[in-house]
Symmetry: C2
Subunit: 421 residues, 2 copies
C-alpha cells in the first residue's frame, strides 16, 4: 500500500458529467499536433475528476479489476503509479505519421513517451500514465528450435542465441480512440458513432453522448503487442528489408495448438520470416492483436464450430462463412480499418514481405498508404488437416494465394471432422 | 445480413434507465434457484430494452466491436443469433453446486443450456443468448509431441492420437456477475461494490447505481476457457482421479515463450498431468483465465519488467513484488476469490492433483469447499533461466514447494538478466 493520504469520497454519485463554462477546463487534446505539449497529454486518471480529458479509464478492460480492487479496499483510489525506471527500453518515433490526425486514430503515438514529454504537467500534479510500454525479452518457441535444428534459422549469437532463443524488443499498446478520426475511418458521423458505442453496449459511458468536448475514448477492450526482430532503426530505413505479420489472437491455436485453423503455424512461419529478414540486415515485426474469434469472442467462436460440424453435409469449405453469419450477423468484426495505426506508429511506409494471405488486412494497409511488395502465403505443409476447410474457403473469398482457387463444387468437397471423430 | 425488419431508432437518447412501476416488468432472476425457469433467463439483448434484465451486454469486451459494427452499418442492431446446431457437444451439469447462490457468482451455470431450458421464452420472442459454449477439438503442442517421443505420454488412439494430437472437450465462458454474491465474496456491501464499479472505471454503466433491481452484470472483461481431457463424467466421479491446473493468461510466455516466467512450461506440464490422469481412468481439467499480467494488463506488466531490470542491484528475487506494487499499487489484481466458480460449474468437489504452486489459488479453492489432495510443483528442469527470480520470490512469499525456501540474503542473490543482455 502507498502512504498517500486517503481522500474522503463524496456522498453523492454523479451519473454523468457535462461540459461547463464554470471551473477549471481540462487540458485540451489537439490530435495530430507534432509538439506533444500542444497535442496535450491523455489524462484518464480517476483520482481527480477535474483533470480528466478523456472518456473511460486506463488498462483497457482491466479497469474493471481495478474497480474491484478499490471496492475491496486493496487499492487506494488515489494511487499514483511510481514510474521510476519504466521508460521505453528502445526508442520508437516520433515519425511523420504521428503528426497526421488521420493516419493514427486508435492509439496515442506519444503513449510510451509521457515521462519524457510531459514532466512539467506531472510536476504540476497531473496523473499521466503511459498507454504504451516497451521492453526487451528473450523468447523461445519449440517450433523455432526445430527450425534451428533443421538449418532454416542460423544461430548468430545476437538475434538467435543457443537453443533457439530469440532476442526481441516488444511493446504493449492500450487502445486510445480519437473519436472524430475513428468516425471518419468508419465513414459515419461522430455523433452516430458515439451514440452506437453508448447504446449498443447496453449504456456504457454516458459521457460518450454528454461530453462532445471530450474527443478521446479509452475503450475497455484488449490492445496490441508488437514484437520487433532485429534493429528497430531498420524498420524505417528504406534501404533495408522489412517483414511484417499482423496476427489476430486465436487462443485455441496460438496457445493450445487446435488443428481447426492455421493461426499458430502461420504465426511461427511469420516469426521465422522476421528473423531471416533481420539476419539479412533488415527487421521483422509481428503485431499481435487481441481480437479473439474475429472480435466476436470465444463463446461465439465455439458456437460456430458446433454449427459448422453438425450442419447437413458436415463441416465444409463452401458453407464456412455462412455459419458465422447465422450466429453473429456478420462474418467478421475485426475492423481491419483501424489495424494499420500500429504500423504507422512504427513509422512503416513499405513492407517487403507481408506474411499474411488476408485480403482485408492487405487492403486496409495499402489503403492507409503503406506499400506491400510481396505477400507470403502459409506453406502447404504447415496447414493442419482439419484447417483445410478454413483456408480453402478464405482463398475462394479473396485471400491471397499463388495456387488454385476452388469453385463451389470443389469447396463442397473440402470437409472437416465431425464432433464425434 | 439477416432479413429482419429494420427497427427505426428513437430520436432521443436515454442516458440511464430506472426501475419503474409502469410498463412490463422484466423477467426476474432468482440466482441459485434449481429450476431454470424459476431462476430466470439472463437477457442482455440490445434489440428490445424492455426485455433486458441485466446491466451490460454480451461477449465481454467484444460488445464494443459489436457497437462499431452497428455504427458502421454492417450489423443490424436487431440481429438475433440463429442458434441451430450450436448446442453443447458435451453435457456439463446440472450439479448441486449450481443451486447454491453463494457457490457460483461470476458465471451463469445454465449458460450453455439456454436452448434446452428456455425454449418457451424464446418462442415468446425473448432474445436469450448462451454465455457458455462447449465444443470438441484436437490440439497439439510441440512439447507434447516431445513427451510422446520420450515415452512420458503413451499413444492410446482415443485421447492421445498419432503425432501427439490430443482429443479434448472445451468450453468458453463469458463472465456473468451476480452482484450481491460478488459483494459477499469480496466482503463489501453491494452498494459499495456497485458504486466502485461505476466510479472507478470512469463512469461505466450508470445502471450499476440506478438499477438496484437488476442484480446481474455482464462486465466487459475476458472470460475463461476450460479444456477437459478424458471423459467429462469422470470429473465428478469420486472413485476416479482428477488433475486440475488453473492458469492465468500470460501472452508473452503462453504464445511467444518468453523466458522471464514459468507460464507456458507449467501449462504444458499441467496438460501432461491431465492426460496421464485421464489415461489412468480419471480426467484432467485446464482452466485458462483471461487475466493478463495478474489482471493489470500488459502495459503495466512491461513497465514493471523495465523497472525490475533497471533497479539498483538489477532484477532480483528479493525486490520482485515491490516493483509491481510501485507501478500498480497492488502486487496482484486477479481476485482468485472468484476463480473457484468455474470448478463448481464443473461439479468438482475434490482435486487429486493440483498442478499449481500458488497459495492464493490453493486457498481460494479449498475455502470454497473443494478438497485438494496433492500439489504438484513445476519440475526444476522446466524453469527458464531468467524465471528463477520470479519462482524464488513466489516461493518465499508462500508458494508451495517441496524444496528450500530462500531467506532475504538468498533471494538477493537470485538475479535475472538486464535489459542490455
Amino acid at each position: 500500500m502507498t502512504a498517500d493520504k486517503i481522500v474522503p469520497r463524496a456522498k453523492h454519485i454523479v451519473l454523468t458529467s457535462h461540459p461547463t463554462r464554470f471551473g477549471p477546463k481540462p487540458i485540451p487534446i489537439h490530435w495530430g499536433e507534432s509538439d506533444p505539449i500542444k497535442r496535450g497529454p491523455i489524462i484518464g486518471t480517476l483520482s481527480n475528476a477535474a483533470h480528466r480529458n478523456v472518456i473511460g479509464s486506463h488498462s483497457g478492460s482491466y479497469g474493471v479489476y481495478r474497480a474491484l480492487a478499490v471496492a475491496s479496499g486493496r487499492l487506494q483510489s488515489n494511487h499514483r503509479a511510481d514510474l521510476t525506471n519504466t521508460a521505453p527500453a528502445e526508442r520508437i518515433g516520433p515519425h511523420l505519421s504521428w503528426f497526421d490526425p488521420d493516419k493514427i486514430v486508435s492509439l496515442d503515438p506519444f503513449g510510451a513517451l509521457v515521462g519524457e514529454v510531459y514532466p512539467s504537467y506531472q510536476e504540476q500534479g497531473y496523473d499521466i500514465r503511459p498507454t504504451i510500454a516497451i521492453t526487451k525479452a528473450h523468447i523461445n518457441m519449440p517450433e523455432l528450435a526445430d527450425a534451428v535444428a533443421k538449418g532454416r534459422l542460423q544461430l548468430d549469437g545476437t538475434l538467435v542465441k543457443a537453443g533457439g532463443d530469440l532476442v526481441v524488443t516488444k511493446a504493449a499498446i492500450e487502445p486510445v480512440w480519437y473519436l472524430p478520426g475513428l468516425a471518419k475511418r468508419l465513414q459515419v458521423s461522430e455523433s452516430e458513432l458515439r451514440r452506437a458505442l453508448f447504446e449498443q453496449t447496453g449504456g456504457m459511458f454516458p459521457e460518450l453522448v454528454t461530453r462532445p468536448d471530450f474527443h478521446v475514448f479509452l475503450p475497455p477492450i484488449g490492445g496490441a503487442t508488437v514484437y520487433i526482430f532485429g534493429d528497430p532503426a531498420a524498420i524505417t530505413d528504406p534501404t533495408k528489408p522489412l517483414a511484417v505479420r499482423v496476427h489476430d489472437e486465436c487462443n485455441g491455436s496460438d496457445v493450445f495448438g487446435s488443428d481447426i485453423c492455421t493461426c499458430r503455424p502461420y504465426l511461427v512461419h511469420g516469426i521465422e520470416a522476421c528473423v531471416q529478414t533481420a539476419q539479412e540486415g533488415g527487421a521483422g515485426v509481428i503485431v499481435y492483436l487481441r481480437k479473439e474469434g474475429r472480435a466476436l469472442g470465444e463463446v461465439t467462436k465455439f458456437l460456430v464450430y458446433n454449427a459448422r460440424k453438425r450442419q447437413e453435409g458436415g463441416d465444409r469449405a463452401d458453407a464456412y462463412f455462412t455459419r458465422t453469419e447465422c450466429v453473429a450477423g456478420v462474418q467478421d468484426m475485426r475492423f481491419q480499418e483501424l489495424m494499420p495505426d500500429v504500423l504507422h506508429w512504427l513509422g512503416i511506409t513499405r513492407i517487403d514481405r507481408f506474411i499474411s494471405m488476408s485480403n482485408m488486412k492487405h487492403d486496409a494497409i495499402t489503403r492507409s498508404g503503406i506499400e506491400i511488395m510481396e505477400r507470403v502465403p502459409i506453406p502447404d505443409d504447415l496447414i493442419p488437416m482439419d484447417a483445410k476447410v478454413e483456408i480453402e474457403a478464405k482463398k475462394a473469398a479473396g485471400y491471397y494465394t499463388e495456387g488454385e482457387v476452388l469453385t463451389e463444387t470443389g469447396l463442397a468437397e473440402i470437409k472437416g471432422r465431425s464432433l464425434v471423430e
